[in-house]
């Protein structure tokens, strides 16, 4: 492994490690204020997640949704755009999937049903993502604000449609879909009985692979990253910057929207108000901790899913809300550590380079997001 690769790896790995250490310290403090032993709580957290099949199933289920929203945020960031509308896009995707599952005849072959519902989910999320994309490309309206504002608009709209038009009386959900149900893990392996895990997780992994291929092996992906790194240079090089931005936010929305099938097709088999709550914001955390790379995102999604599920496991000893705090601490620590680590590594790399009187290759600049 040469020097540059080592530096890059260190830049990716150091912040999450630092963040986990900080989170453990904060966690210890919270546990002690509640008069419990940190060791006992952490043991319970691990036993309740990775210690039994049900726990593993729940972690896999939660990680599946987070992989989709994480990929959505990461693809935006690669284009220099911040999509914080994941929650609305996820909800819209799940809603459209449920509508299609309701509209298709029950006799539709499962594979077609699933395919059509999934395409619908991507289209639903993509449509929600395309609006801020178009506003950015056409009017220069900043996507940070438009995506967050659109969250509220979309959730209110869906709330109205569900409550006024198609809900099951006395509930906040639609009737069950007639076709498109994705196989639960427990149908294949009974040991997972009771957990929500389903084969959508394979779709998530395949999508992560597809995003990786798109970003790093296609011309469009190259253009997208070029716009993220240096929009002026990309424009000078003949890239249609406005078009790339528009497309990036639409694809980002579609990725988040696809996450909706995990709940709608795989778990409950209906759309329910509030199923997307929090998953959009955690997608930002997942993308950040995963270094915006598809493989990193899958790993980070597992980490955050473990924390979410672990909260329920430790609730007997300490309030489950402890993990909400820890998740936020991880985000905050990574966000502050990433620039600090990069800065110090580059500073030391420069001095080493100077002392060796040797030219190191230029580091790949990272996208500057949030401008």
């Amino acid at each position: 492994m040469n020097e540059t690769r080592k530096t890059q790896l260190l830049e990716k790995l150091l912040p999450p490690v630092v963040a986990l250490l900080v989170a453990i310290v904060v966690g210890d403090f919270l546990i002690l204020t509640f008069g419990q032993s940190p060791a006992a709580v952490y043991r319970l957290l691990l036993e309740g997640t990775w210690g039994n099949a049900y726990g593993i199933g729940q972690v896999l289920y939660k990680a599946t949704t987070l992989t989709f929203t994480g990929l959505a945020v990461a693809l935006g960031i690669r284009a220099g755009l911040f999509n914080i509308g994941g929650e609305g896009q996820l909800a819209a995707g799940g809603f459209v999937a449920a509508l299609i599952g309701l509209a298709l005849p029950a006799a539709t072959p499962a594979i077609f049903g699933i395919l059509l519902c999934t395409i619908g989910a991507a289209a639903g999320g993509g449509a929600v993502g395309a609006v801020p994309g178009w506003l950015r490309a056409r009017f220069g309206a900043h996507e940070v604000i438009t995506t967050i504002m659109l969250n509220f608009v979309v959730l209110a709209l869906l709330g109205w449609v569900v409550s006024a038009k198609i809900h099951v009386p006395e509930s906040l959900h639609t009737p069950e879909i007639r076709t498109g149900a994705v196989t639960r893990l427990s149908d294949i392996m009974p040991v997972f009985h009771g957990s929500a895990a389903n084969l959508t997780l394979l779709v998530a992994l395949a999508t992560a692979g597809a995003v990786s291929w798109y970003l790093f092996k296609t011309r469009r992906g190259y253009e997208l990253r070029a716009v993220g790194l240096q929009p002026d240079a990309a424009e000078y090089g003949g890239v249609d910057v406005a078009g790339v931005r528009w497309r990036a936010l639409a694809i980002s929305g579609a990725l988040a929207g696809m996450g909706g099938i995990n709940f709608v097709l795989g778990y409950k088999r209906y759309y329910e108000e509030g199923f997307a709550t929090g998953a959009g914001f955690l997608g930002i955390a997942v993308a950040l901790v995963g270094g915006n790379s598809p493989l990193g995102i899958v790993i980070a999604a597992l980490l955050f899913a473990t924390l979410s599920q672990g909260g329920l496991a430790v609730n007997a000893l300490v309030p489950k809300q402890m993990v909400d705090v820890l998740q936020a601490v991880v985000i905050l620590a990574v966000a502050t550590a990433v620039p600090a680590v990069r800065h110090s590594i580059r500073a030391s790399a420069k001095s080493v380079a100077r002392s060796l009187v040797r030219k190191t290759p230029l580091d790949a600049p990272t996208p500057e997001v949030g401008k």
């Binding site: 919270l30 204020t33 509640f34 911040f82 914080i84 506003l135 056409r138 009017f139 220069g140 309206a141 900043h142 940070v144 604000i145 438009t146 967050i148 504002m149 659109l150 509220f152 608009v153 209110a156 709209l157 709330g159 109205w160 006024a164 914001f281 930002i284 955390a285 950040l288 309030p319 809300q321 402890m322 993990v323 909400d324 705090v325 820890l326 998740q327 936020a328 601490v329 985000i331 905050l332 966000a335 502050t336 550590a337 990433v338 620039p339 600090a340 800065h343 500057e368 997001v369 949030g370 401008k371």
Partner: protein
């Protein structure tokens, strides 16, 4: 009579927005994105409950709430200014942090996952919800004054000039000797204290803290900040407008005239429209959200 009741209810709803809107203007005019308003408000509400329950005094509760808001803002400022962390990510993280912390300590202090015990507030139970009840609440007067004072501060004082300078052109401000980082620290902490008063008002007015009681009001205040184009007078009008829409929604509940969800959307849709420049372009402070400037 109905018009007066409508006005009183609008004012009552508008007070938290006015406080948080003042915080939003302060933060964003200095160059830092104010996604954290929601967190400041929730922190302020919790602080008010803790302080008022511990001392029995709503005034000390309000002060505790402001301290909580100021500390959260300091955390944001240190992350964004000292460590150059991305402001959007940090803002989202701080909002999540406050939700988690308030829930955790709600369990720890009051053994409840939903609400605190009854909190002493201003005024008396029998004063009702009309103007009389509003007039004896000092926070109502402070709230009405908040954006007026911020407007004066920004337009007429040396500190205000510095805030505007570091938000528009930090390099130029630095070249004439303004301490950019210090100005931003002060502006952001002030923003946190102002916004937290919005939460304080909610907790004392409802006589308790409830889990996530701010319910997105910080984002409505952010919408008002942008829709009001970062100018205190316009932001105040936006806050009142959004509050009036909400009052209308409450009044129309039960009648089938307009679905309440459509009125809920008004602030967000208006803000998107304003950002797109369809009705006069909203131009943000030039250095807003930039990471490298300090």
């Amino acid at each position: 009579m109905i018009a007066l009741a409508f006005l009183a209810q609008t004012l009552r709803i508008a007070i938290p927005y006015l406080f948080a809107g003042a915080g939003g203007v302060m933060s964003e005019r200095s160059g830092l994105i104010a996604l954290t308003l929601e967190g400041y408000m929730l922190g302020g509400a919790f602080g008010a409950a803790v302080g008022a329950l511990a001392t029995g005094s709503p005034v000390l509760g309000a002060i505790t709430g402001m301290i909580f808001g100021g500390l959260l803002a300091l955390l944001y400022a240190v992350s964004a200014l000292k460590f150059k962390a991305n402001q959007v990510v940090t803002g989202v993280a701080i909002n999540l942090l406050v939700i988690g912390l308030t829930r955790f300590f709600l369990r720890l202090l009051y053994d409840s996952s939903s609400n605190s015990p009854r909190v002493p507030g201003f005024g008396h139970a029998e004063s009702g919800s009309g103007f009389a009840a509003l007039a004896i609440n000092p926070l109502v007067w402070l709230g009405l004054l908040s954006l007026v004072v911020i407007g004066w501060l920004l337009a007429r004082t040396a500190f205000g000039l510095r805030v505007r300078a570091v938000g528009e052109h930090p390099e130029a401000a630095a070249s004439v000797g303004v301490n950019v980082e210090r100005t931003r620290y002060i502006a952001v902490v002030l923003s946190g204290m102002l916004a937290s008063l919005g939460g304080v008002y909610l907790a004392l007015d409802q006589h308790q803290f409830t889990d996530q009681m701010t319910a997105g009001r910080g984002f409505i205040a952010l919408a008002a900040t942008i829709f009001g184009r970062w100018q205190p007078k316009r932001v105040a009008i936006a806050c009142l407008l959004f509050a009036a829409a909400e009052t209308l929604q409450i009044r129309l509940q039960g009648t089938q005239a307009i679905p309440s969800q459509f009125i809920e959307m008004i602030p967000y849709v208006l803000t998107i429209v304003a950002l797109a420049g369809l009705v006069g372009k909203a131009v943000q402070p030039a250095a807003l959200g930039r990471e490298e400037s300090a």
